[in-house]
């Protein structure tokens, strides 16, 4: 078992490094990132200020602008491993603290969206499989197809329009109590809910055809109890596999959902920093999103072992 975890963690770590290297390269393509622009934005905050030659040299020294790209990356990496992700151009605060202050908001939103989508998708998937071709089956499958096709930012706008303005029920934006969480979580979770529901339905149908279900019936067990004791756990295995894939879309989604609902998470920080060309923050955000992405993937792998005893980790 430990061999498996070690292997998966190694992959996760590699992914984080690959992402950080790729992002560092991409960010180097930003034209015009010279010592002058850094001084203007970091130290001065007034773009019409032209720094003296001494200042330019000093800045180039601080940010190692002189040497080649890969060396700059290594400097950055070395600092990053010591927890120093550089300082934000705009706020002048250390990148690490800017991100860690916003990390809980994104994690909270991602978890809420995942739970919301699973809590809706799993039972609905089971019901539409149990009562195949019934009204609920058609209805839920049709709505799933719609939600998959629906852009989440449009869904967000529509929810704002309907819920908080006309019905004045839910707060429209901003971070705060539980009621602030509802609309963003629905917007973010909708896509994942649709995919999971469709998958759950086909997976349950698959399991219902297997022999051990007939055995269970032969023991005199009613359908409901068969569903929860025998079908659910088996049907979840393929769903968990796809959940890993969905995480990528979920994290991508947070960027958009946080912008619409002014949710102070890493996604919003990333968009603001891209607009403001705040390079250290962009780099920091992407690395943290990659870490969250790999961590969640690791959790999905671990849950395999917990769900499916047939998997012999030692063998991998």
């Amino acid at each position: 078992m430990l061999g498996y975890i070690a292997k998966r963690t190694a992959i996760a770590v590699f992914v984080v490094f690959a992402t950080s290297a790729l992002t560092f390269f991409l960010l180097s393509l930003i034209p015009g990132e010279t010592a002058v622009t850094i001084i203007q934005r970091v130290f001065v905050g007034d773009v019409t200020y032209n720094p003296s030659q001494a200042e330019i040299e000093a800045t180039e020294q601080i940010f190692h602008l002189g040497n080649p790209l890969w060396m700059q990356y290594l400097y950055w990496l070395n600092n990053a491993l010591h927890g120093n992700f550089g300082t934000s151009y705009i706020s002048g605060r250390p990148v690490l603290s800017e991100i860690l202050v916003r990390l809980p908001a994104t994690v909270e939103l991602a978890i809420a969206a995942t739970i919301l989508s699973l809590v809706v998708a799993v039972p609905l998937g089971m019901i539409s499989a149990a009562r195949q071709n019934s009204k609920t089956d058609y209805l839920s499958m049709a709505s799933a197809t719609f939600f998959i096709a629906m852009p989440n930012f449009w869904l967000g706008l529509i929810l704002i329009l309907l819920f908080s303005l006309h019905l004045d029920l839910l707060p429209v934006a901003g971070y705060g109590g539980l009621d602030n969480l509802i609309l963003p979580a629905i917007t973010l979770g909708a896509g994942m809910m649709a995919v999971t529901m469709r998958l759950m339905r086909s997976s349950v149908l698959e399991v219902l055809r297997l022999d051990y279900i007939t055995t269970a019936r032969a023991k005199g067990m009613d359908e409901k109890r068969i569903m929860y004791r025998h079908v659910l756990k088996n049907a979840m295995i393929p769903v968990i596999t796809v959940a890993g894939l969905q995480l990528g879309y979920l994290l991508g989604g947070t960027v958009i959902v946080e912008t619409i609902f002014a949710w102070p998470g890493i996604g919003k920080l990333l968009i603001d920093s891209i607009d403001a060309r705040d390079i250290p923050i962009i780099q920091g955000c992407v690395v943290f999103i990659a870490i969250m992405f790999s961590l969640l993937n690791l959790l999905v792998d671990l849950s395999y072992y917990f769900l499916d005893p047939r998997i012999k980790y030692e063998k991998v």
């Binding site: 007034d46 032209n50 202050v101 809980p104 994690v107 429209v172 934006a173």
Partner: protein, 537 residues
């Protein structure tokens, strides 16, 4: 054999570990005592009717007056400056009771007596000297604005300032928000950035929650000026315009500004809300890549472009009243604005004539003028931070197309524009007219051949001498004459085109009373006289 139970525990620990780790790291890096992450604005706090909740448009990225002067002074009202300014940009005494000019480069300032900092320590000449010198060190542009060479403490309540060169606008430059006077006892982080400012202003810093961008302020009971009626002010960062509008509408905040244009008419008619539109010292200006070797070197082309722009419809319809058509370079409400100027009316016919006069013909009949084989086809750059810029750019694009100039609009970050823009292109931006309430600040930077804003190489010897003279003459009437002439030439030669003055849309619950708009502000400025009354009186 590792059983299921053990694996489950490992998985759960992994999750807990990462969140705890994140939690505790977060605690370390946040020195200021922050209220819990999710500060619930309990209805009780609001019911006390002594608390004003403000929706701030920019994300609050720090509370150090030297770096975030306009926020800490104008909105948080934590610090005061030696000199203050009236809505018509004339000066009035601030922490300095009075000041007199000793020589061309020396000024003596007498401090108000008995003024205390929020922590009870006394305001003395030494603390003022420390505070201003700190601002000069931390924020280089402050030196460019004030030209301070040295500061000497004459006695407990008197300071002597020496400027690099004769600078008539020096007293006005001390109104610059980044010069807010702050006590050495303010709490700072390891890099010397102030995180707990101790000022002399009407409100004291209570705490700042970085995550939700919320600043908590308490009334300063022994404020030297009129004691404010409000007990508590909460400033919440709501960077998204649509969210600001909805928050004030639903009562989550009492006061905010710059809501989306579309919502202005609607909010005016919404019960329980007041909407005020005020021109402020910021102008939308259309500048050119370079005035030499481009179509814009010909003055008639510049005038034609100015005539081709319908400032009326842009201000009224496109920006929904959030702008006022510009006549001269500065807003008419400013004391030293040249009231006699007659701006450029919307006259596309005249524009086409002027362009024809300047030799631009539509040779190939594709609706775009050519001259010397070159098409008049340029790119108009602007940036996303101010919501009005993009729609205005697209409106100007259509108007110039109407007179035969083909324009492509590109929206990108300010520093990126510098890289992509060529001499032939144009840029639409919103410039602050009076960070310092003195004509010199904007006019010299924009119209003097070496002015730091003047990137398009405009140089007119008469303009240069006038601006240099203005700097040195201390007689108010004579200065007024000089700057009237400067504004006249500026309007006549039109090296850059002023489209409209920026109007701030202030939206507040109708129980908010006592608000006085002061255009000197960067965007808007709260004032100590504000209070919460009954909603219908």
């Amino acid at each position: 054999m590792i059983t299921r139970r053990k694996v489950a525990i490992i998985a759960i620990c992994l999750v807990l570990l990462s969140s705890i780790m994140a939690g505790c790291i977060e605690k370390e890096t946040q020195e200021p005592a922050t209220t819990p992450l999710m500060p619930e604005i309990t209805p009780a706090a609001k019911e006390a009717k002594k608390t004003l909740v403000v929706g701030e448009m920019w994300s609050i990225r720090g509370v150090d007056p030297a770096k975030r002067g306009s926020f800490v002074k104008e909105k948080a009202m934590i610090v005061d400056t030696l000199v203050e300014a009236n809505p018509d940009f004339t000066l009035r005494p601030g922490l300095a009771e009075s000041w007199e000019q000793i020589s061309d480069v020396q000024w003596k300032f007498h401090l108000r007596k008995g003024v205390k900092f929020h922590d009870g320590t006394e305001l003395t000449a030494d603390t003022v000297k420390w505070s201003i010198e700190r601002a000069l060190k931390i924020n280089p542009p402050v030196k460019a604005v004030t030209m301070i060479k040295s500061i000497e403490v004459v006695d407990k309540n008197t300071l002597l300032f020496t400027t690099e060169e004769p600078y008539a606008a020096f007293p006005a430059s001390l109104e610059y928000p980044n010069l807010g006077i702050v006590s050495p006892t303010s709490g700072t982080d390891d890099k010397g950035i102030i995180v707990k400012p101790i000022g002399t202003g009407p409100f004291k810093f209570e705490s700042f929650d970085v995550a939700t961008g919320t600043l908590y302020l308490l009334r300063n009971d022994d404020y030297w000026g009129k004691k404010p009626k409000l007990e508590k002010v909460i400033i919440k960062e709501i960077p998204d315009p649509a969210s600001r509008a909805m928050s004030v509408e639903k009562g989550e905040v009492d006061f905010t500004c710059d809501v989306p244009y579309g919502d202005i008419e609607r909010l005016k008619t919404t019960p329980g809300l007041k909407v005020e539109l005020h021109p402020t010292a910021r102008v939308y200006q259309l500048t050119f890549g370079n005035l030499s070797g481009t179509p814009y070197s010909d003055e008639r082309v510049r005038k034609a472009i100015s005539y081709a722009i319908d400032r009326e419809v842009i201000s009224e319809r496109t920006l929904h009243g959030c702008a006022e058509p510009a006549i001269g370079p500065v807003i008419p409400t400013i004391a030293w604005a040249n009231k006699g100027l007659k701006g450029y009316s919307y006259d596309p016919e005249k524009a086409r004539d002027l362009l024809a006069e300047a030799g631009w013909r539509d040779v190939d009949g594709d609706g775009v003028l050519e001259k010397g084989g070159e098409e008049f086809s340029v790119t108009l750059y602007t940036y996303p931070q101010r919501p009005g810029l993009q729609p205005m750019a697209e409106a100007i694009q259509a108007m110039l197309k109407d007179v035969g100039i083909k324009v492509e609009v590109r929206v990108m970050d300010w520093s990126a524009i510098k890289e992509h823009m060529t001499n032939k292109d144009m840029k639409l931006s919103a410039y602050a007219l009076a960070m310092v309430p003195d004509p010199d600040y904007y006019l010299r930077r924009t119209y003097h051949s070496e002015g730091s804003y003047n990137l398009w190489g405009y140089s007119n010897p008469e303009m240069d001498s006038l601006l240099e003279e203005g700097l040195k003459t201390f007689d108010p009437d004579k200065r007024q004459e000089i700057y009237d002439r400067v504004q006249e030439i500026a309007l006549d030669e039109v090296p850059l085109i002023h489209v409209a003055y920026y109007k701030v849309a202030v939206v507040m619950r109708d129980h908010v009373k006592g608000f006085v708009f002061n255009p000197i502000a960067h965007d808007y400025m709260l004032n100590p006289e504000m209070y919460i009354g009954k909603s219908n009186d």
